[in-house]
């Protein structure tokens, strides 16, 4: 036993790597090189090479190879005995480490679960709104941020932090969501940008279809510009349908020759009310409710109006846009198309992708590293466009 103990006494023997041990265990368990190679997704020569390397490093033969079969030598037997548990605990350790990622995904799923359930069993609008607010309430509000109710040019709004420079238009498909529910996300963005955010409670459909939301966003924008003294001191931000509303606001400002803000941050934009750009989903998905959302918001208004379908608009002359999206978000083609179109039309538009599938993953900034990073990047962009504009204003003045 002491001999075999010695063999295993060098698990960290210089040069012995985990893959050598895995190769050995696979061959020892299968007693067949081609099956073991298949199991490891290795070519047979690569597998043989690894076994030979291991034998050289350990200093003895571990396997007897004959034309018809593979057998373990006593040394091989001893090594197998002691290696298997090592690999199992190593795999467990790695799984535990990786589940830090998996755990986060599970946490997001738990928070979203009530909304996901709605995709399978649709409820009344009233219940859906309640569930959405409940979900939003699961995410924390950044500490030390002041929240005040303000009347922003006739639109009731929350002012998060001091001296807001960000006009935040919340998501929720024009039918759900509130300034109150979005205190966590808008507050986190404001905190990251070391600024304040104004979050209007724009009127929701179906009670108030288009253009009520846009009118309210416009009123809040004018109020904020007035407060800041300069439109270039204001940055728009919005998530999902709030990003579409931000673009609609920019298009309306352009059409009315009103001053533009310094830029816009568009988090996981959801821009296409027809739903035809969504990547397919195997399971029932909230985004499949887009037709009901569209009907509620449009209430007969033509869907090809750029103010409701900004991807159809002429984007030239818009200020810099930062577009963020999760790589596997079903609405990702909309983010791609927006960036592409804006870029073609001469707008400074940047697309930032983040790993994951979650629409508006930024909501989970308090525990999801990608979300915290995304908000930090958005804050950098906000800093940059505000600084650029004050620099331009200085040189102009």
């Amino acid at each position: 036993m002491s001999e075999s103990g010695n063999v295993i006494g060098f698990p960290t023997h210089e040069g012995v790597e985990v893959r050598h041990l895995r190769a050995f265990v696979a061959v020892a368990e299968e007693l067949n090189f081609s099956r073991a190679a298949e199991r490891l997704y290795l070519s047979q020569p690569a597998l043989s090479r690894q076994i030979r390397t291991l034998e050289r490093l350990v200093g003895c033969d571990l396997l007897h190879r004959t034309t018809h079969r593979v057998e373990l030598t006593p040394a091989g037997d001893a090594l197998l005995d002691r290696t298997r548990p090592v690999l199992v605990s190593l795999d467990e350790a790695i799984a535990t480490a990786q589940s830090v990622g998996g755990e986060l995904a599970a946490r997001i799923m738990t928070i979203w679960a009530p909304m996901t359930a709605l995709a399978e069993t649709p409820m009344s609008l009233e219940t859906t709104r309640e569930v959405f607010e409940h979900v939003l309430a699961q995410t924390p509000i950044p500490p030390d941020i002041s929240v005040r109710a303000v009347n922003a040019g006739g639109c009731s709004a929350l002012s998060l932090g001091d001296d807001p420079a960000i006009l935040y238009l919340h998501g929720g498909g024009y039918v759900l969501g509130s300034a109150y529910g979005y205190r966590p996300l808008a507050g986190a963005l404001a905190t990251a940008a070391k600024s304040g955010a104004l979050v209007p409670d724009y009127r929701l459909a179906p009670e108030h279809p288009f253009p009520a939301a846009l009118d309210d966003a416009c009123a809040a924008y004018r109020w904020l510009v007035d407060r800041r003294g300069d439109s270039r001191g204001v940055v728009l931000a919005g998530d999902s349908s709030g990003a579409a509303l931000s673009l609609a606001l920019l298009l309306r400002l352009k059409a009315d020759h009103e001053p533009m803000p310094a830029g816009a941050v568009l988090l996981c934009p959801s821009l296409d009310l027809s739903g035809s750009m969504l990547t397919p989903s195997e399971r029932p998905h909230l985004m499949d409710n887009i037709a009901r959302v569209a009907a509620a918001y449009l209430a007969g208004h033509p869907i090809d109006d750029p103010l409701v379908s900004p991807l159809r608009g002429d984007l030239s002359g818009l200020p810099p846009l930062l577009v963020q999206c999760a790589v596997a978000d079903r609405a990702r083609p909309e983010a791609d198309a927006l960036t592409e179109r804006a870029h073609e039309q001469g707008v400074d538009a940047r697309l930032e992708l983040y790993p994951g599938v979650v629409h508006v993953f930024q909501l989970f900034w308090s525990f999801l590293p990608e979300a915290a990073d995304a908000l930090a990047q958005a804050a950098r962009f906000i800093d940059e466009v505000l600084a650029e504009d004050s620099a331009t204003a200085d040189s102009a003045g």
Binding site: S43, A46, V327, D336, R350, E352
Partner: protein
């Protein structure tokens, strides 16, 4: 082929978020994907290669083994989400990143994953360590771009190991004017 608007991807890593540059040809078909390890003007070289080769090119910003490994492994797992074919994975390195790419290609060969269809070594600086210590048999076919002198020994050893190698002075549009002389 014209390219889509510049895109960045931010990947979680133990050293903090990695900024990754993406250059996508405007193509409706599924593209091959080139993972490029480089620290020399990544956006420019990334776009030049994507344009030249009509391939989705995804580049690190630093030429480190850690960043290269992270990007290669992430891309092998998620190429489909980027609209690329995970079975058509190429690995490349430019300048200081070239030998890291060569090394990672060998490591992938040993591990059996991910399967690298081709290695592209752009303007390699040096290769001694790997060339001397490891068998090159079974390494992915290689294209080495750069002045012959720097790449000769590695190209030679790859050929001795039975690996198909193309050495070319420069792809037509990937050059930096100052390095061409």
């Amino acid at each position: 082929m014209p390219l889509r608007a510049p895109t960045t991807l931010r990947l979680r890593s133990p050293d903090g978020p990695l900024r990754i540059h993406l250059a996508q040809p405007l193509s409706r078909s599924t593209l091959s994907v080139l993972v490029l390890i480089t620290d020399a003007d990544p956006p420019q070289i990334c776009r030049a290669l994507a344009d030249e080769l009509t391939i989705l090119t995804i580049a690190t910003e630093r030429a480190t083994l850690r960043d290269g490994t992270r990007l290669l492994e992430w891309t092998a797992d998620h190429a489909t989400e980027l609209g690329a074919d995970p079975d058509q994975l190429l690995l490349g390195g430019a300048h200081a990143g070239a030998w890291l790419a060569a090394y990672l290609a060998l490591r992938a060969r040993d591990d059996g994953w991910p399967v690298i269809r081709h290695q592209l070594l752009v303007h390699p600086r040096r290769f001694p360590a790997i060339a001397m210590s490891t068998s090159l048999t079974g390494a992915p076919p290689a294209t080495i771009i750069g002045p012959p002198t720097a790449s000769h020994s590695y190209a030679h050893q790859l050929r001795l190991a039975g690996v198909a190698v193309t050495v070319t002075a420069w792809l037509s549009r990937t050059s930096h004017a100052d390095e061409r002389t």
